[in-house]
Symmetry: none
Subunit: 244 residues, 2 copies
């Protein structure tokens, strides 16, 4: 009918935050490539990068390691992503949509932009600030009496679910703009916090951390496009300035 071109959403990037052992980075690479994922991003890997232990553990998935990029912060690593999933167990401190791997895969295939699947350090998992950067929590439902999913296992299940939808994926609704890239969103959050700082919004000081997190959630949840984020910034600026 129309001359529209069906564009398939790009494969998600896998972001490992402060991974500890090179061996586990290699195993994650292997897990990824088994299901066709090739883009790995490393945030502050504990032992630096490249790491000589990664290669042998990758069992041939060298291309993933060779193309891996290194970032100082999670914010930087997901700056170009319009959808960010934090892989973690349910968090009491954060009110955020929680999805399972199959639901995440469906969302990724339907996104117009790039998605990121974020995994935390082996021992501790993602900390609250990392999770707060995400737009959704991805939880792998496991045995409540024995939750011992390691990094590569979590990666492989997410990658496996994604791969199941590859042929089936519906083209994303053509003319929907994607959610704004993370940098735009951070710009809005930062500007809002600055305005609120000026009006002593963060009193008492003891509540500040929680309030900052709530504002982040408030502004992340809308999934505003870049244009909408700009509009919101304009509104806030205008109201702050007051009548001319």
């Amino acid at each position: 009918m129309s001359g529209s071109v069906t564009v398939q959403a790009p494969p998600p990037v896998i972001v490992l935050v402060r991974p500890q052992l090179g061996e586990n980075i290699g195993k994650a690479a292997r897990a990824m490539l088994n299901f066709g994922l090739t883009q790995m991003r490393l945030v502050a890997p504990r032992d630096g990068w490249p790491n000589p232990s990664a290669g042998p553990a990758a069992s041939g998935a060298d291309i993933v390691l060779a193309n891996a990029t290194v970032h100082e912060t999670l914010a930087e690593a997901v700056a170009d992503c319009s959808q960010v999933f934090a892989t973690t167990v349910r968090r009491r401190d954060l009110v955020m949509p929680v999805v399972d791997p199959a639901e995440a895969a469906t969302i990724i295939h339907g996104e117009a932009g790039l998605s990121a699947l974020v995994f935390g350090p082996e021992r501790s998992g993602l900390d609250s600030d990392d999770v707060a950067l995400a737009r959704m929590i991805l939880t792998v439902p496991i045995n409540p009496e024995f939750g011992s999913l390691n990094l590569a296992q979590a990666v492989i299940i997410a990658a496996y679910e994604w791969s199941k939808g590859v042929e089936l994926a519906q083209p994303p609704l053509a003319d929907l703009d994607p959610p704004a890239p993370q940098t735009d969103l951070e710009g809005l959050i930062g500007a809002t916090n600055e305005m609120l700082e000026k009006i002593d919004y963060f009193q008492p000081e003891s509540r500040k951390v929680t309030t900052l997190r709530n504002i982040r959630t408030l502004l992340t949840k809308p999934r505003w496009t870049a244009k909408e984020v700009q509009m919101m910034r304009g509104i806030l600026r205008g109201i702050e300035r007051g009548p001319r």
Copy 2:
């Protein structure tokens, strides 16, 4: 209608045929227990049983190893099973139904009897005689250019798919608050428009209708809860008022 009781099919047993490394047996046990599978059967493990390398690799899934049974042949190991899946790549030498992990899970949940998921030795995989004992072939569809699924990874994907059909899943989305009632939303939109009117935001007049509509979309899209709507109103009011 009928007095029939819905009985859930028993969890499948995991059969490892001639496994080589104790470490891999341990990892398979861990993979199983993560998704609620506890019955492991070992056919002629290369290094005998018990194997001291298995425990540490199981990361706490000791119950699976402790209950594992040892068998001389695959036939003996699956003697009590009414459905047997051989996990392998597609075989030219055998004409047998081929299913993927999700299909296998559906079949297992629908079985009246016990099912077995059979995995071969690490290097070579199942030989033809072993596969011939099965009723179906289970193939995990992987990257055709990089097939490097290890034993524990194959086990975890089969176990994960099975677990999706069971209620061991953690409670989903449930306790997220619903979006605010329409009146709250209208309150926010109205208050925002009033603030914007004061700062001549709706200039030129000819664009006003479109701009009002865009603001409505901007504030409706987030699906904020009543609490979040209140928070947003507080933020806007505070910024309008300015520093005290």
